[in-house]
Amino acid sequence: MRRLSILSCLSILISSHVIATTFHITVVTAMDAEQINRGKSFAGIQTKIERPVHRAIDLALSESSTSFRAFNIDPELQRIDLNTEKPIAQQLRSIHPNAFVILDLPKTVFIEAAKLLSEAGRVVINTRHPDTDLRDSLCLPMLYHTIPSQRMYFDALGQFLIYRNWRKVLIVHGPTDEDRDRVRVLEQSLKKFGADISDIREFTLSHHPDDRDKNKPEFLTGGASYDVVAVVDSVRDFGRYIPYSTRRARPVVGDVGLVPVTWHRTLERYGAPQLNERYQIFDGEDLFPASESMSDSEFSAWSAIKLITNSLPIADLTSDVLDPRQILKDPDAQVDLYKGTRGSIRRWNHQLRQPILLTTGDAVIAVAPMPKFLHPKHYTDTLGFDEKESPCRLN
């Protein structure tokens, strides 16, 4: 342990209650169901970072240790790695009734586990899937989302394009169902902010000359008038070859080029460099090595823990077990996200509201909401489904 070891030497006088309140956290993974190298189909190399969120959770808990001492909280971390060959209900049975359950699972297993746990009254946190259906149609009363929705990401992009006055958009997308679903969300976002779609074109995973209109970036982006190319390529596969190969000299945005994310290693304000440094030097036990910074899933897992830590002033600490339901229901639950604006929960679909960063590989170009995109109530509520648009009504 390096710098963070100082925390463990701290001794702080606690005057309030004597018996500590236990904060149960459970992290559920299913390593056997993970498809590593999802981006291999065309490129043959791994192009998308997907790490378990353990490291970010351990960091968040370590960061919170001073607050936990101040509020006399005793964190208790449980890890469950599911065997998806067997029924999962049995494997989730050991979860404490008041646990704060972070599900780091592939989508199908995620939905199954989230339903089971929500029905049993457990608080379930989605730190991984931006998919809009989890917010709009699944809409479970106990399910909370700290990772931004796809709509929030694309709304940030839509605002940026309008702000830049790049209004004519050519959409190029991959061949999967996920890609097509995300194109629909992108269309909604662009429409919402008043951009025009020049055309929507699908990339074909082949090298054959007969397919050149669909597999060569120069042809795929030819014969259309546009200010910008938006690429939807969920597995980060062909999209990498679009920039610098478009028929017209136009910027590329979306899954490559200018990418909307929730966290980035080069955010240099709002205390972000300190958080990135802590992540890089943090070494707990049995952890994966740090890459340059937290992935969006890791940041969302970190945010989930910090949402509880930062909301301890409103927590009921009279019981010997912390009830995360009580905190999450409180409209004053809030979290310092190191992004210049605090995060809080949207009552209608349990989405954590937050700014979105528009980034390239080595810079944060803008932080959305963009200037002049104003919401009457919450600064960040121009990103994602607003109360009136949301089919999910949990409030």
Binding site: I6, T66, F71
Partner: protein, 326 residues
Amino acid sequence: MTIRQHTPLDLLRVLLMAMAFATASVAYSFEALISNERSGDLIHINPQGKTTHVVRICNRPRGMTKGATESDAVIACSDDNMIVVYDRSKRVITSSIESVPGAMNVSFHPTTGRIIVTNEGIAQASVYELDTGRLLAKLPTGLEPDGVVITNDGQTIFVASENAGLVHVFDGTSYQSKGLIRTNLRPRRIALLDQELWVSSEMGSRVEIFHVETLEKLDEVIFAPKGFRPEQMTPVDILFNPSANEAYVALGSANHVAVVDINSREITKYILVGRRAWGLGLSPDGKVLAVLNGLSDDFTFIDLDTKRPLLTKRAGLIPHSIEVFK
């Protein structure tokens, strides 16, 4: 006569501006020092807002406070892990304390000659004898300690931990912890007003007021200038002007300074300044408020009689702290 073409209101405006300018150029006499975090220099500013000297000082100068004499400024050099004492009349560093990890903010206690420094990266504040550079104590805090103050009698030290949402309270003699104040999100700066401790909560968008002895929360001031959403208020520096019964709070991303009545704790005025207003300084006669705008690399002088900005001028890169001397 061209003046006949203007309406009486225009004439009045011109006259008022002329009066304001006359006051600015005649009545004020002071020198301000600004530490510029990114350009690594100090700039000397005269009452007209003119930069008279640019002095290269160290890597990442941030917190600054007045030292033992009216010509001394004590400056935290974060990336050099160092505290320096700067003589503004000679424009040289007269002494320094080395191996002060991540020195971020600094507070000076004149009667005992001690400084308290927050050590940003290592969750600690430290106490030094300024004259000798002797380390007197290390005070453990939560992560990202920033604002630090010591009471006039030297008996109590307060240190804000941004990450933990706490103000740590230490005995000023034994250096033992004597309590904790739970604050709203991201406590940044602390200011003392008699028995009151004002703490800015940057992400909580408010200033909370606590009792210095009992540590009980007395009140809070929540900001809401027209046209902004609550979470856009990111207050940082707090400054008192007791002769005017006023407190000033720099509202960060809201690009305003709030004027708060010290007695009623009501907000009486919001004044528009530059981008991410954070550092504040007051002229010795209490007539001019200086505001550092961290994202627009400039500073604004505000006339406190009229509560109107007098001028905005260029600073160095990322102006961090300001001290105004006689």
